[in-house]
Structures are given as C-alpha cells and as structure tokens.
Symmetry: C2
Amino acid sequence: MTDDVMTIREMCAAYDVTPRTLRFYESKELLSPIRKGQKRLFTRRDRARLTLILRGKRFGFSLEDIRQLLDLYHLGDQQRTQIERTLAVARERLQEMRQKHAELETAIEELSHQISTGEQTLSKTATGQPDT
Amino acid sequence: MTDDVMTIREMCAAYDVTPRTLRFYESKELLSPIRKGQKRLFTRRDRARLTLILRGKRFGFSLEDIRQLLDLYHLGDQQRTQIERTLAVARERLQEMRQKHAELETAIEELSHQISTGEQTLSKTATGQPDT
DNA sequence: CGTTATGCTTACGTCAACGTCAAGCAATCT
DNA sequence: AGATTGCTTGACGTTGACGTAAGCATAACG
C-alpha cells in the first residue's frame, strides 16, 4: 500500500482539477501535501480536505470561508478559544446553509411552475400540428 | 399611487444594492427601467426581475445564466424556437438546483454533526476543569 | 444666482480564483 | 549525452461582478 499518498497527477485525475488548482490551494493553506524532494505527495487528509473544499465551492462559499471550516474537521491540538471561534463560524455557516436550503426549495417550485406554464404555452401554439 | 415606479435611490434602499449595480444590470440587459429625461425609473417588472436576479445570485448562477432564465418569466411575444431554448435552459438549471438541494441537505447534516462533535470536545476539555 | 445634491456616462481599478506562459531542475528513455 | 517528460516556482493574464473617480447636466435650496 504505497498509495497511501497520491501524486499531483493522480489527484487531478481523481478530482477533476488542474495542477494549478492544487498548488493554488496549497498556497492558500487549504492543503499541505508532504514533499518528497521536489514533489508533492497528497495524503488521505489532503484528499478529505479537497472533497470538502469542492463541496463548499458548489455551495458558494469562498475559499477563505472554507479554510476556516476545514479546521472543524480535525480539531486536534488546537487551543480552546480557537476551537470556539471555529465553532462560531461553523454555526453561522450552518445557518446560511439552512437558509439557502429553504430558499432553494422555493425557487425550485417557482421555476418548475414556470416551466410547465411555458410548456403549456408551447403546446397551444403547436407547430402546425394539432394536439395529439 | 405615483409610486408605480421607483427612483434609483429607492431601489437601492429597498434591495440593498448600489446605483452602480443597478446600472450595471441595465447594461447587461437584465433590467430596463424607463427614462424620464435623463433619469431611470424602475417599474414593477424591474422589481420582480431584480428579486429573481438576487435570488439567482445566491445560488451561484452567473448573471448570464440568470438573464436567460428571466425570459421564462414573461414569455410573451417570443418565437417558438426561442421559447424552446429558454425552456431547455430552464430544465437544465432546475436539474442543477435539485442536485444542489440534495447535496446541501447532506452537507448540512455533516456540518451539524461536526459541530456537535466539536461541542463535545469542548465540554470534555472544560475551561481549567479536569474531566468530570 | 451660487452651491449643494443627485444622477448620468465613461473609463479605469479591484478582487477572487484560477489559467497561461516562461524557465529551470530531475529522472527516465534512447 | 541528448531529448523528452513531469514537476517545480514565479509572474503576468483573464473573467465576472462590481467599485471608484472624473466630469458634466439637472434640480432644489436658500
């Protein structure tokens, strides 16, 4: 099991990102692959974090937001006050997410309503063809 | 009821946006306020659209995406093929939104789980207190 | 009638999140 | 050895969504 770690290429393939993206995330301290000489080796921890990063992005969180949240997922040797601040951030984000979730539900309903209205408009003005 | 229309300042106050933003949206053909001489007057239609624009943005849609979706909300004098394309776009977006909705649900559960784990960590390492 | 406020247009500035080169090691293939 | 391939580190370019500043017009106030 040498593949406890992955190279940058393997990571790119696995997560569908570019090398540039991974290096960029490292520069922003979102990832911290180990260095074998010159090269980066990404651990399970990096992979878990990347999963969370990509998910966070889909929900519209900034990388900076995500960086703060990531700490939550491996509270180890941190200071108590640090943990508390992280928790506070997390609770805020959770609130935002719940809010979004609810709004999204409304928006989905509205949009799907509009779509069926549109479909009816179409079927009435059918293309030369009468109704089936 | 002269306030069938609103000035740019009123709009800014009502929707918490800047004048720049409203003019920018107009330049991108997302809004089309009428002109009284030099000045812009925003109608109910503009307001409805702005509501949808801001909502769309919260869900991570680009202004261009939103511009296409907006057409759906007032299919009037359009061409049939144009309506069909709009509907196609809308269905795609609806799919995305449903996907996001589901993912968001998962993420909410995970995050809230992590938060309670974090809280327990805190309560065990209570301030200066040894384990209970 | 001067000035203060508001609005308009035009144009350049900014910030996030990368993309896209350029230039240089290092290992590997021929 | 030479060439190729993969990875590295800068450094500058790009796109979307505005911010900001300059300059002029119009309107309102005193």
